[in-house]
Homo-oligomer: 348 residues x 2
């Protein structure tokens, strides 16, 4: 199809030098004479030469391709994460294969296989729900630098970059306790994931510290998405027992969903019911009410992930490192004193 590629040999012929010289020019070698370089560069320009990285890779130079697989690109958090990675990958002279597994393990397997065939220099993976150690192990064993982000897969020797899930949620719950909330729900996430486990652990810990026994009906599982959050509100309302006055959510997407669900029932998030998210996606700041959330700086995390992987690729680090990025609670308008209290105040 595409008019056949111009090769190094044709450039050489055109410039009246050998292909070796052209190669040296391409590599910006200081060995070539300025005049020669100019002549070759001109030929490259004139003939519209495009470097063939595939051919070069064959000789052993590493591929300069980074594979990135995320589980849900429609979740702003992952989109921003990808954008952050993209930024450093690009500026380091690499390109990225970015693919979306859509939480489908089979799909993820195919994607990774395909990426390997293309000779990626490293892989950043935010594993799909249900990914097992057996999916990752062969990659690591083959010597491919692998970095797991956001979600960990227990039992693998891959490096990982996670956020401080437990302390983050703990801070969020404490904030609600300080505001006077006593019945606080934890909303969103699949029970069998490590992220859910750690965040719920932070939730339990904070409640226990305050002398409150966490009651199971206040933990509501759901898909970790906006739709999931909206559904969770419905679930929560159908459960017997006193209603909570606030919810800590698995992530911002769920938190927005909870806000949606509340509004559908004529409850105003922030005023009638406090909602806290996790991630701090762009919209968290601009939404109304602005979302109180545990900020992980998604783009920053993406940048950091890419840097970790690049280091692993270049330095040839063989030992897996596990890094936790610190988080901080950002208080905005979606969390406030419990509704009853503010009523009492207005009465007083």
């Amino acid at each position: 199809m595409s008019g056949k590629r111009v090769t190094i040999v044709e450039i050489a012929r055109d410039a009246g030098v050998s292909k070796s010289t052209v190669s040296l020019v391409l590599q910006a070698s200081p060995l070539v004479h300025e005049d020669t370089r100019a002549r070759v560069t001109a030929a490259i320009e004139r003939l519209g030469y495009v470097y063939n990285r595939g051919a070069a890779n064959l000789r052993g130079t590493d591929s300069r391709i980074i594979g990135i697989v995320v589980n849900d690109l429609t979740n702003s958090f992952f989109a921003e994460l990808a954008v952050g990675m993209d930024r450093v990958v690009q500026s380091s002279g690499y390109v990225q294969f970015l693919a979306n597994s859509a939480e489908n393990v089979d799909r993820q397997r195919q994607i990774i296989a395909s990426m390997r065939e293309h000779g990626i220099a490293g892989l950043i993976l935010s594993p799909a729900h249900g990914t097992e150690a057996g999916d990752i192990k062969p990659l690591v064993e083959s010597g491919l630098p692998v970095l797991l982000v956001v979600r960990n897969v227990p039992g693998t020797k891959a490096s990982s970059l996670l956020s401080e899930n437990q302390t983050g949620i703990r801070a969020a719950v404490r904030h609600l306790l300080d505001l006077g909330h006593r019945r606080i729900a934890f909303v969103g996430g699949f029970a069998d994931t490590q992220v859910f486990g750690e965040r719920v652990e932070g939730y339990r810990a904070a409640l226990s510290e305050a002398g409150i026994a966490p009651s199971p009906e206040l933990i509501v599982n759901s898909a970790p998405s906006r739709a999931g959050g909206a559904e969770a509100v419905a679930t929560m309302l159908t459960r017997r027992g006193e209603l909570p006055t606030a919810a800590v959510c698995l992530n911002d997407a769920v938190a927005f969903g909870v806000c949606d669900g509340l509004r559908t029932r004529r409850l105003e998030p922030g005023r009638d019911f406090s909602v806290i998210g996790f991630d701090d996606v762009i919209e968290a700041r601009t939404a109304v009410p602005a979302l109180t959330t545990v900020s992980v700086d998604p783009q920053g995390m993406g940048e950091r992930a890419a840097q970790m992987l690049l280091r692993q690729i270049n330095a040839g680090d063989r030992v897996a490192e596990m890094v936790r990025t610190s988080v901080r609670l950002v208080v905005r308008q979606s969390s406030a004193v419990p509704a009853k209290w503010s009523n009492e105040e207005s009465v007083a």
Copy 2:
């Protein structure tokens, strides 16, 4: 670094056949004997062989890599578009380089150059703001199949897939007119883009048809993002003249921003002021109020784009085609009878 790759030759040695035979097995050729195939397959499995697509490409088979460049991955619309493309690209046995130009033309240029070096079989581009025909032309001329999506670049011979901007906005404005709105704003977008031009044209047309002269102060430019929409509300309010009762927005992101801006000023979107978006991103349905919007089905459009490009690659279509995807107005809760009217009704 990575423990050196197992090659076809080693498989051949292990299976006791020639490399040619192994190659045939890899291509699922019907020429090889079943027993031989089994033996080779076993060796491949045992030695953990990974196909080297780069080496294969050297011989002329096309690369099975599709390059995709979008201008803003943090905009859900583009994220969904990418997800749709990903779906068909994957299932057609291709992989994608997906990169984000972040509306930066230089960045976009670098990305495309890099993709070309990697030998992409085709390119789908949602051009960054400010992309010129000169950026695209050389690509098309080199024989690379190129498909422009969402935004067009006048003066290029590339194929394009756009949405029916004018008719979409026209339907939106008509809907508002039917509800009784007379002062309707058009919000968001850079004045120098074709998308803005077409959509504003639809806006003008609908107003003219209703005998309303479009007044310039009702057209508010802003970045095509959520933040831009929020700012636009501020801009709108500082302008002299009677305030509008409704706004048609460049896209959903802007529409959400407008909703944010309204709420900040204690105006409830849908009730006090009607807002219509364009795109129909996932959140449009779940947001509260659910957003009335011109639906383009982003994922569907992404799928369609990928199909168009693949057809162009495989069939070797040399003529550029320009396709408009149809859109339809989806009426939800963010548009209603103008505030004054509903007041009158409640008085009556």
